[in-house]
Symmetry: D2
Subunit: 146 residues, 4 copies
């Protein structure tokens, strides 16, 4: 467990495409927002998820959990907060909170577990240099590469 891991905050505006006839965001679309936030989390540490894949490393999701407490609607300005709470030998856990911009009320929370997969589509141990990337302090890596 990583104590007090810093949050990365990714602003998103809800698309019409993401609503359903109940008049709010469809539950599956939050998972795409989680993914977008993970990409931002990497950038906050000076690397991109794309660069991991370019070297043959993938982070497929093996588990997801989400709780929807409050409604999110079309055109809402939301912020998806994301942080890493655990890194094991070959897996990593991200945690999420969705709030409306300017609010602290958590409307949705969730987590995902990922395994690190090599190009042979098998789980691999997190290499030391990737472990270094994941463990970076965003304060020291403000420059977004790419």
């Amino acid at each position: 467990m990583i104590e007090n891991a810093p949050w990365t905050k990714e602003p998103i505006r809800v698309r019409y495409a993401e609503t359903d006839q109940m008049g709010h965001a469809y539950y599956a679309n939050y998972l795409a927002w989680f993914e977008q936030a993970r990409g931002a989390w990497c950038r906050d540490r000076g690397f991109t998820y794309r660069s991991l894949e370019a070297r043959g490393l993938y982070l497929p999701v093996v588990e997801v959990h989400a709780r929807y407490h409050g409604e999110i609607k079309y055109d809402d300005d939301i912020v998806v907060r994301v942080r890493v709470t655990e890194i094991r030998r070959a897996s990593i856990r991200f945690e999420y909170e969705v709030v409306r911009a300017g609010s602290t009320k958590v409307l949705t929370d969730g987590y995902t577990w990922h395994v690190l997969m090599g190009s042979g589509r098998k789980a691999v141990s997190v290499p030391p240099d990737v472990r270094e990337l994941l463990g970076r302090d965003p304060e020291e890596h403000a420059t977004v590469l790419d």
Copy 2:
């Protein structure tokens, strides 16, 4: 808890739209499959989810959990098995298993919790007649209304 609830089995063929560049189905799309299976579950009991909404009752998802054990790819013939495992005063729990057609190996499992919401967008107790629908034996309600 409902013991030994019967499964409804919904066949689905994976769309190209549902894949991602990792070459398998993107994790969020399973949630749309779960939803499709819930619709089939209702039909197996002689009603449609649409008919519930027509009378002002909604079943928004308030929690989802899924574990992805094995890959599902484009054009795969899968079966989403779904059943209700618990009905509380104002909420209901569905359980899912995704297998390849003709196989018993569970590639993904999951559950969702729903609350019953009235047109005032507030949770309401499950009315007796809806409770009767949810508790039906599909063997006796083979006719799919529509």
Copy 3:
């Protein structure tokens, strides 16, 4: 131009995921239905689009056009009719009509143009054996491989 090309008919039931807050199917989702219908079109001729990719041939979309005449809603039973109307040296045109099951009223029509792309991500001429597949009479290839 191919005169009187036969239609393949693909039945689809509209998902809740595919609706938007206007209460009907979101316009982008029709393109996924078109794609699903193209897959069925291949099967009607005894091959799968997947098998084309397996041998390094891809059919990316280079143009799409759709006109939405009538609304399609959640849980509607629709049929997407698809046929090939033109095959050029390295490109192919599919045509679509969306109707409600049991109806002949065209609710949406459209077409897509595709180029045949080899594994070098460059357009290639349609090889003779692929041209044979595309030109098949579905009456004689009822057996769906796979």
Copy 4:
């Protein structure tokens, strides 16, 4: 026809969810980007599409056309340029160009036609005050409401 209508430019970063197994953005997802750009176009004129719906006016898409010239991939920084090129009695035409950030090469272009629909789900003439909104000069309405 509106001559030299100004473009609104909406930056978007491509999500993993939007890719397919061909390794690029799936063709249907561009339509969601077009929609996001339309929302930005409204904001550039000091109103939101949401506010139109709040007063019972809807702009469903009745036609779409897109041509895909160049590939767009995961994590690409793209810009969707959008402008209105025609306003008729009860319909409106948007035009789109998708470029990579910092580039002028048009990778995808397209257009959509919309009808103005009242709450009775019937086409209505564009009311004078809405016509004023649509005809605004963004230079004079820089303030984004909401």
